[in-house]
């Protein structure tokens, strides 16, 4: 059973991305209306809009939070060919809970791309403050803030050509020191003849360059989203891919002498799971914190959740779907009460949750 709290995002058009901070207490949204908004949860659980600013001069595709060790930092990327880094400044308020005196300033504008910047992600925190972007013309860029206390200085460290138009990227969050930094990039190039659409890049400490180490040739359809799973101390990495279906790819490092020399790992690539439950194109994939549940969004208008069970196989566990037909009764009720001249209750500061209705009255599936 699920319940939901509705937060009116106050954007003037569809939201392209929603990102939560490390603790899930802050929410950033971005939209075609070129605005970025930041929401904070108050002590009663209600979400309050605390900042809203025009961040770009085109649709804002993605928004992402840096690790809180670096402060309150956001990165955005846009159709306007730029990516930007934002930092929140807190005014000198005696009470830390007061939200009024905060605002976000643009620390840098990364203007190296000549086409739409399609994705932006901060690297693992052990690497300091690194930022990867990818763009529609197939260039991956790695930026770095050499002084994490000064976010207005960013240097373009690496520029990697990826032949095909890039749509999404993901850092491997794995905490292990035994393998090099790893990035996966997906392409939404539509021509199957161009081969695999997911590329794995690794950073070689020896030659100080990012090298393409693998192409996942089993995926030749356009890829729209890609996400490494949080690693629970596994010896292999898991990568979720949104393409014509949902794929979960495992990447297992194979130790050999060549990899020891180059500092790059050789990977054995296998498809762990493949779901065509959406029955159509899959747009987004997202892992929960522990990497035990994958949520995917597809062109069927559904969010589907897949969970790993005790025999280590993935099973669909629940589906969410938009349905406006049930809200009419709610609005009706309120209109009746106002017609009767009853005073409307004051806007509550506490979060109101509504129970979600179900479509299929079949058996409940264990969520946990």
């Amino acid at each position: 059973m699920f319940e939901a709290q509705e937060i009116n995002a106050e954007h003037k058009d569809l939201i392209h991305d929603v990102a939560y901070d490390y603790y899930g207490e802050r929410m950033a949204t971005c939209s075609s209306d070129q605005y970025v908004k930041v929401w904070d949860q108050n002590s009663e659980g209600k979400w309050i809009l605390t900042s809203s600013w025009k961040a770009h001069s085109g649709s804002v595709w993605k928004v992402t939070w840096a690790h809180p060790e670096f402060g309150q930092v956001l990165a955005t990327c846009s159709f306007d060919r730029t990516a930007a880094v934002w930092e929140e400044l807190v005014g000198e308020t005696p009470c830390p809970a007061e939200r009024g005196n905060r605002h976000w300033v643009r620390r840098t504008n990364l203007v190296d791309s000549r086409t739409s910047v399609t994705d932006v992600k901060f690297g693992p925190k052990t690497q300091g403050l690194q930022l990867a972007t990818c763009s529609a013309d197939g260039v991956i860029r790695i930026y770095e803030a050499p002084d994490v206390m000064n976010l207005s200085q960013w240097t373009l460290q690496h520029e990697v050509q990826c032949k095909l138009s890039c749509s999404c990227l993901s850092w491997n969050p794995s905490l292990s020191k035994n393998h090099p930094l790893m990035l996966a990039v997906g392409s939404d190039d539509t021509n199957p003849a161009n081969g695999g659409k997911v590329f794995i890049y690794e950073y070689s400490d020896n030659i100080r360059r990012w090298m393409k180490t693998e192409t996942i040739n089993s995926i030749t359809d356009p890829v729209h989203d890609i996400s490494f799973s949080p690693n629970l101390g596994r010896s292999f990495h898991l990568l979720a891919v949104a393409t014509k279906d949902v794929r979960i790819i495992s990447l297992t490092p194979i130790p050999d002498n060549a990899s020891l020399q180059s500092g790059l790992s050789k990977l054995e690539i296998q498809t762990s799971a493949q779901f065509d439950d959406h029955g159509c194109t899959v747009w987004r994939v997202c892992w929960n914190i522990t990497g035990t549940i994958l949520a995917s969004s597809g062109d069927d208008g559904c969010v589907r959740m897949f969970k790993m069970n005790y025999i280590n196989s993935w099973k669909p566990v629940a589906v969410l779907k938009g349905d406006g037909s049930h809200i009419s009764s709610e609005t009706q009720r309120s209109s009746i009460s106002s017609a009767a001249g009853l005073p409307t209750p004051p806007v509550s500061q506490t979060a109101r949750y509504i129970k979600l209705g179900t479509i299929a009255q079949s058996r409940e599936v264990p969520w946990h």
Partner: protein, 642 residues
């Protein structure tokens, strides 16, 4: 059997028209929003839906365990869970008996919880009442299944004589007859049979095997002295009841029992009870006459109520492994095979000793995994899941099964503001993925107040996760810094042993001092001790503060030594030279000679090296002069000494 998926609806028209996407937020909640994918190469234009009222829906699982009224259940069960783990770590040879005790403890926790709910339900009305009633149904079923599992899988019943336990179980869950009997016996004893439910109670008790109570009630019938009543009393008294402690073997018992059956049957055949309809029925029931049982079975609320009664009179020596077939027979007898409730299915699976099926089914009980995790853990420790490890059929491993439930349950509790420590204790007992899960989750706990942050840090320290502690301290330091509380920030920086961060903060102190001449947080600086070694800049700050202290204490000689060592240390930040050199002035001009010629040379050397810094230009002449005068004094003094 693959259960079909449930689809939950997001009540939003835009979400229906455009489709939706979702982002996870810690821990296991989803942000769902109307979403339409736009390809990077398509032109940037307003969507077909704009201007739109775009909403984000924060979707979470409904967790009844977070209800305040169920909090006690969560906490107390945690205590019992930890006792189970401790028991298993001591390798006690008596662990089976102890496990049974702990199983009963779990059940008494559920019963206490049910009592609470029942009290509460009286006080409430409307929707809330319904909700509470729903919880009562859930935990009633939980207790019912647990009790049966305890009898069948945890208790080591001597000789596997399971029936007395089953009867006890049925009596507990269908207590109405005993309650009525108590009421009857407590009331007016004259003409008890005139009470409307007298016979129903008597027969109900008979079916529950409460022979003594049945006899007591019959004796209070106004016709108790009549012949049929006396005969029934005698017959019931003579009825052999099987017990492992009676000292007779099953064969011996069966002989006695068969004899009693023949005897009683002959009495029935002789129509000795026919004058009393109810007594006649009772006797026919007691010999297991099918038609008699057909008459009463409709009074049974559940098939397992009938099962226990039926077995008592037809198969008193039944072993637990034979239960399944009789259960199925009972179910078909009552004609309910097609409308089995969920609880019925779980109980049937238990009677068929299909533990895996039981575990699968109890996940559907809507108590958020409380039951499945605790029961599976108990069954695992009772050795009841060992068979999984030896069967080659699938990849299911007992320890993995147990761990999966504990991981899920622990993670669920970690998502609660005040139950996270309880959650940790479950993750602690997951040997494979526990610590990794803790690592991922503990850093996601909102730090909130200082006291809460300290608590989280302590839990991380307990589990030997120094990098987590460092990271949390760093975040707290950063938060303090952003709020302009640099003293606080420095405290956290020291705890996180982050040298870069400490340097940045030390810089802030020094810059602040060089602009306005004030040193903040003197208490903290006074107590830096060896922790200052984390960064050179901090060492400089610490030493510089010491200089201030000794100078204020008018210990000029010591101050001179300190300033010279600072000058020579190469730790001085560029922006601070002006301040430091100016600080030397009063020492050079001191009445008493405190700087030797060597000291002065060191100072002059630094001065020459830094003479290009713009901010010392206006002081340079002054310092040179003071240095020259001090040098003269010092050389004269030193010459005299030699």
């Amino acid at each position: 059997m693959e259960p079909s998926l449930k689809t939950f609806t997001i009540p939003d028209e835009l979400c229906r028209r455009a489709g939706i996407a979702a982002t996870w937020l810690p821990i296991n909640e989803l942000g769902v929003f109307a979403y339409q994918h736009v390809k990077a190469h398509s032109p940037d234009q307003p969507s077909a839906y704009g201007p739109a009222d775009a909403s984000v829906f924060k979707v979470r699982q409904q967790v009844i365990l977070f209800e305040p009224i169920l909090r006690k259940l969560v906490n107390e069960a945690n205590g019992t869970f930890l006792s189970v783990q401790e028991l298993m770590s001591t390798n006690s040879p008596e662990f089976k008996t102890e496990l049974l005790k702990l199983s009963r403890q779990y059940r008494s926790i559920i019963r206490a919880c049910l009592e609470n709910l029942q009290d509460e339900v009286m006080r409430e009305r409307g929707e809330r009442k319904e909700e509470l009633q729903n919880y009562i149904t859930i935990f009633y079923s939980v207790e019912c299944v647990w009790h049966l599992c305890e009898i069948l899988f945890v208790d080591n019943i001597p000789g596997n004589v399971v029936l007395p336990h089953l009867l006890e179980w049925v009596r507990f869950h269908f207590p109405k007859y005993e309650r009525k009997a108590a009421k009857l016996l407590a009331g007016d004893l004259v003409g008890l049979e005139s009470q409307p439910d007298y016979w129903e109670t008597v027969i109900g008790l008979l079916m529950q095997g409460r022979i003594e109570v049945v006899r007591a009630l019959l004796r209070l019938h106004s016709a108790a002295d009549s012949k049929p009543f006396k005969l029934v009393d005698q017959t019931l008294k003579a009825m052999p009841i099987y017990s492992i402690y009676s000292g007779i073997s099953a064969t011996e018992f069966n002989l006695k029992w068969k004899h009693w059956l023949v005897d009683t049957q002959s009495k029935i055949d002789a129509k000795l009870f026919i004058s009393e309809r109810h007594l006649h029925l009772m006797m026919r029931l007691s010999v297991g006459e099918e038609t008699a049982w057909n008459e009463v079975q409709n009074h049974c609320e559940a098939w397992y109520e009938l099962l226990a009664a039926w077995l008592f009179y037809t198969e008193p020596t039944i072993k637990s492994f034979e239960l399944g077939q009789y259960a199925r027979r009972c179910i078909s007898r009552m004609g309910i095979a097609l409308h089995m409730r969920h609880l019925d299915q779980v109980l049937l699976a238990a009677m068929e000793s299909d533990i895996i099926q039981v575990i699968k089914e109890i996940q559907h009980m809507s108590e958020n995994g409380w039951f499945a995790s605790h029961l599976t853990d108990l069954l695992y420790h009772s050795g009841r899941l060992d068979f999984l490890d030896t069967s080659e059929a699938d990849d299911l491993v007992a320890s993995r099964l147990r761990e999966c439930f504990l991981l899920d349950y622990g993670t669920l509790l970690m998502g609660h503001n005040s139950l996270w420590q309880v959650g940790l204790s479950y993750l602690d007992h997951c040997p494979t993925d526990g610590i990794n899960t803790i690592e991922l989750l503990i850093t996601r706990l909102p730090l909130g107040s200082e006291a809460r942050a300290q608590k989280i840090i302590r839990e991380a320290q307990k589990r030997d996760l120094p990098h987590i502690v460092q990271s949390i301290c760093k975040i707290l330091g950063m938060n303090s810094l952003k709020r302009g509380r640099i003293g606080n920030a420095l405290t956290w920086a020291l705890k996180s042993r982050d040298s870069g961060f400490a340097s940045v903060l030390a810089d802030k102190f020094l810059r602040e001092y060089s602009t306005n001449g004030k040193l903040q947080c003197t208490d903290l600086l006074d107590n830096l001790g060896s922790s200052m070694l984390v960064s050179d800049r901090l060492v400089f700050l610490g030493k510089y503060f010491e200089l201030h202290k000794v100078y204020q204490g008018k210990n000029y000689k010591e101050a001179a030594n300190l300033i010279v060592s600072l000058l020579a240390s190469k730790l001085t930040p560029k922006y601070f030279w002006s301040t430091l050199l100016s600080d030397a002035l009063p020492l050079l001009e001191c009445n008493e000679l405190v700087m030797s010629s060597n000291d002065t040379f060191t100072l002059l050397h630094c001065l020459e090296e830094k003479c290009n810094l713009p901010e010392i230009q206006d002081k340079i002449e002054l310092i040179r002069l003071a240095a020259a005068r001090n040098l003269a004094r010092a050389l004269t003094h030193e010459a005299q000494l030699n």
